[in-house]
């Protein structure tokens, strides 16, 4: 990183002794400015101002000849400051800074006056517009005399990327980056990667099998030489900044040596628990697992994990540990402890996914009360041939349902729970309808508010489901009850709903109810957000830098987001977004360096009293308290140059490059010098 010249031999309070020689240029902009502002008068007034050596007017200052004037005057008249009165600095500040630099002086010895957008275009009185232009020119001339040379900062970028979350988003991004030759660290909280997608049976609208498209990618991650995969691990600390994040990862012990375990699963068979006894998280609790388990057969990495919460060895210490003895590679290791890894990366992609809505928050639908009310994810596991029922749809009493009701928008579009639309539920409900009919031949009713199928092939799928005979009932289901009113309702669950198309309240008796749960921010999203300094929307999804133009960037440079952590979305969008995040991260690190504007803030350690007032004000955590010197220090790499700390420093000990107090005070003085 190149330093910025905050001090220039004469100390930071200005270059005393240097003779200030200012060149002033006013642009006609054809007639855009000159038709209202008396540019000749502006040039004449400017010529009278202190330090102004040259004062010129020209038709188009931004044109090549216009810029050439500036460069030539710098050389011939030994100018060391330039002021141009023309259009908005948002339009041409960089143009003129370039000309100033080519002329041979520091590009920040330049100030622009906006007399077009803020002048000739918005006023009608020529005299008043000219007077305003002159005042603003006076301010710029006074200010530029106080400018100091500055340099854009250039920082080296570490070539590795950290990806947090090993769902389909994280996997996609990891493979993209690794294929481009970049080192990738993929950190996943669960024992296996795959995320929610690994739990699905088929994907809409093409009905291709999720495992068939996902597991090859999971294997590719495992085998990729550029990817370091840490499952059962969590990021615990993040320091540093774009180009150089220092990340601490906690690796939980799985009591299996990763290097020696080959995933033969002999140990699982050998466990003293002859039958699986404990709730299987991967199967949404529908199945059971042993204390030593693998989430599902194609898990990546293909390692077993011992759960110390249920394992007798840990619980009582009295187990003979047949798992340990049966393993001929001696991979079982009860003495394993938590490990901490520290890595340095140039960029981060956060892809921490979502959590399905907790249906117990809506007791009206009877989940937990009635055996035959299921969540969509449970049904998803049930229809999977490798799932807990081997693909059989059987109710908890062993019956095969003859009628099934799928209730949409459970925890979505609901003022009582979550207001947002989860985007995928309409489509996956249709998919489940298809799969359930295929498996059971049951009548399937969909209770929906309205169908949202805006995707490639989505509406066609909806039409197809209608053709297949899925019953559509428009109306938010009011409740699920076992209180029967007629013989045909006997032994069934009744979905009460106002059918808003038929315009009456109906009672639909069904054997099974499926709740189409919406998406919520993942558990732990808030801690992740704080660690990486990502903002979130009110609902808790991570906030992108710009909703249209920077959808995978965040307010923190070098931190990107992909997938459902940013908001509910389906697999195609997630994969596309993950690709975009990978491309953005690649563009950032492949360049090798980042360049930043120099208008950062800085603290003179001799001035700072260490009162800490500024520290909590920085949204980028760029200010830290140095325990050694007992003063505040600004990490220039994190500073984005808003100047909030400067305005707040009670002892005036923080300054901002290009927006120094004395520069702004001189502007105030000059715009008011004629009142």
């Amino acid at each position: 990183m190149t330093g910025i010249p905050n001090t220039d031999g004469n100390g930071r309070r200005g270059a005393a002794g240097e003779e200030i020689r200012i060149g002033f240029y006013v642009c006609h902009c054809g007639m855009n400015i000159a038709s209202l502002v008396d540019v000749a008068a502006v040039a004449k007034e400017a010529a009278k101002l202190p330090h102004v050596i040259v004062s010129r007017e020209y038709k188009y200052m931004c044109s090549d000849p216009g810029q050439e004037f500036i460069m030539q005057d710098i050389r011939e008249n030994r100018l060391n400051r330039i002021v141009v009165a023309a259009c908005s600095p948002n339009l041409h500040e960089s143009t003129f800074r370039g000309a100033v630099a080519r002329g041979g002086i520091n590009p920040y010895f330049f100030q622009m006056v906006n007399i077009r957008e803020h002048g000739s275009w918005v006023h009608t009185d020529a005299a008043a517009a000219t007077a305003k232009a002159i005042d603003q020119v006076r301010a710029a001339v006074a200010r530029v005399a106080k400018h100091r040379p500055l340099e854009r900062r250039r920082m080296e970028v570490n070539q590795a990327v950290l990806i947090v979350g090993g769902g389909i988003a994280g996997i996609t991004a990891a493979l993209n980056l690794a294929d481009a030759g970049k080192k990738v660290y993929l950190v996943e909280r669960e024992p296996t990667i795959g995320g929610h997608m690994a739990k699905y049976d088929k994907t809409f609208p093409t009905l291709d099998c999720a495992a068939c498209i996902l597991t090859p990618k999971m294997s590719a991650v495992r085998e990729h030489p550029n990817i370091t995969l840490w499952t059962y691990s969590e990021v615990t600390k993040v320091d540093g900044h774009v180009g150089k994040f220092k990340v601490t990862v906690r690796r939980k012990p799985r009591y299996i040596d990763e290097e020696t375990c080959v995933g033969c699963l002999e140990c699982i068979s050998a466990c003293v628990f002859k039958t699986p006894k404990f709730e299987d998280e991967f199967n949404e609790g529908l199945g059971k697992r042993k204390p030593i388990y693998i989430p599902f057969p194609q898990a990546v990495p293909p390692l077993v994990t011992i759960d110390p919460e249920t394992c007798l060895k840990f619980k009582t210490g009295k187990c003979k540990s047949p798992c340990e003895t049966v393993c001929d590679r001696k991979a079982v290791d009860f003495s394993q402890t938590e490990k901490t890894e520290e890595i340095e990366v140039g960029a981060v992609i956060v892809a921490t996914g979502f959590k399905a809505f907790d249906v117990t928050r809506l007791p009206i639908y009877g989940y937990g009360l009635y055996d035959n009310v299921y969540t969509a994810l449970e049904v998803e596991r049930m229809v999977t041939s490798s799932g807990p029922t081997g693909g059989e749809i059987t109710l908890r009493d062993g019956r095969v349902p003859k009628s099934i009701g799928i209730i949409h928008c459970v925890g979505s579009r609901d003022k009582k729970t979550n207001r947002w639309c989860s985007r995928v539920c309409c489509m996956y409900s249709l998919k489940l309808a298809h799969l359930l009919r295929e498996h059971t031949g049951a009548d399937v009713y969909q209770f929906y508010i309205d169908m949202r199928c805006p995707g490639k092939g989505y509406d066609e799928f909806y039409e197809r489901m209608l053709d297949e005979g899925v019953q559509m009932i428009r109306g938010r289901a009011a409740e699920v009850t076992d209180w029967t009113m007629s013989p045909e309702e006997e032994g069934k669950l009744v979905v009460r709903v106002e059918d808003t198309l038929a315009a009456y309240v109906r009672r639909i008796p069904v054997d099974m109810v499926v709740l189409s749960t919406g998406m919520e921010p993942a558990v732990g999203a808030d801690e992740i957000r704080r660690m990486f300094n990502i903002s979130c929307s009110t609902e808790g999804f991570f906030l992108e830098k710009h909703p249209k133009l920077a959808p995978v960037e965040t307010a923190t440079a070098g931190v990107f987001i992909a997938g459902c952590c940013q908001g509910p979305k389906d697999i195609p969008d997630t994969v596309a977004q993950a690709g975009a995040a990978a491309a953005q991260a690649l563009a950032l690190i492949d360049k090798g360096y980042v360049e930043m504007e120099p208008n950062t803030s800085y603290i003179d350690p001799d001035d700072c009293s260490g009162c800490k007032s500024c520290i909590p004000l920085c949204p980028y955590h760029a200010i830290a308290f140095d325990e050694g010197s007992k003063k505040a220090v600004i990490n220039e790499a994190l500073c984005t140059g808003c100047g909030t700390c400067v305005a707040s420093c009670p002892s005036g000990s923080i300054s901002q490059n290009l927006f120094e107090d004395d520069q702004i005070f001189s502007e105030i003085e000059e715009v008011l010098s004629h009142v």
């Binding site: 948002n90 803020h118 275009w121 918005v122 909030t644 305005a647 901002q656 927006f659 715009v671 009142v675």
Partner: protein, 165 residues
């Protein structure tokens, strides 16, 4: 100039929203009063209360601060810091005898060229109705009471004693 008083308003605009809104007003050729003198800062959070007081002390009849809407700050939360300072500063300024309407904070998004125009026109009209503040001139008036004495003392001293070389 003093014979035909025109309100003079100093504006501090954040670069990303309000300054850009003023650019948009220009591009849209909206017309508003020429009484504003704009100082560009990166964020409304950079607006030091000292700047506002300095502007009043140097003769501004009004001060307008423009920032991004809450939640839209380019720097996440600079505008909230501005809002908090503004709430206290307005009380202080009022306690010092300056009418509230002379100090204004407005959230003007980059897309709100029309709002910028309206705010400026409204504020100019309001300050015009309040009349001149011109503290710089008041300071001079207040200090006249000393000038008379300086003159008198000077005369008396001259009469009393010889001038030392």
């Amino acid at each position: 100039m003093s014979e035909a008083w025109e309100p003079r308003i100093v504006a501090f605009f954040c670069n990303w929203c309000t300054y850009t809104a003023a650019d948009l007003a220009g591009v849209s050729r909206l017309k508003y009063a020429p009484n504003l003198r704009t100082i560009r800062v990166m964020c409304s959070g950079r607006v030091d209360p000292q700047f506002v007081l300095e502007a009043f002390a140097r003769g501004a009849d009004g001060v307008l601060i423009g920032g991004c809407h809450p939640g839209d700050c380019h720097y996440i939360s600079g505008n909230y810091k501005c809002l908090r300072r503004f709430k206290m500063l307005r009380r202080l300024v009022r306690d010092m005898g300056i009418e509230e309407g002379r100090l204004r904070l407005e959230w003007i998004a980059a897309s709100e060229g029309e709002k910028l125009k309206n705010v400026v026109n409204e504020m100019v009209a309001h300050v015009r109705a309040l009349g001149p503040l011109r503290l710089n001139q008041k300071f001079a008036e207040w200090d006249e009471e000393m000038n008379q004495l300086e003159h008198a003392v000077g005369e008396a001293q001259k009469a009393k004693e010889p001038v030392h070389a």
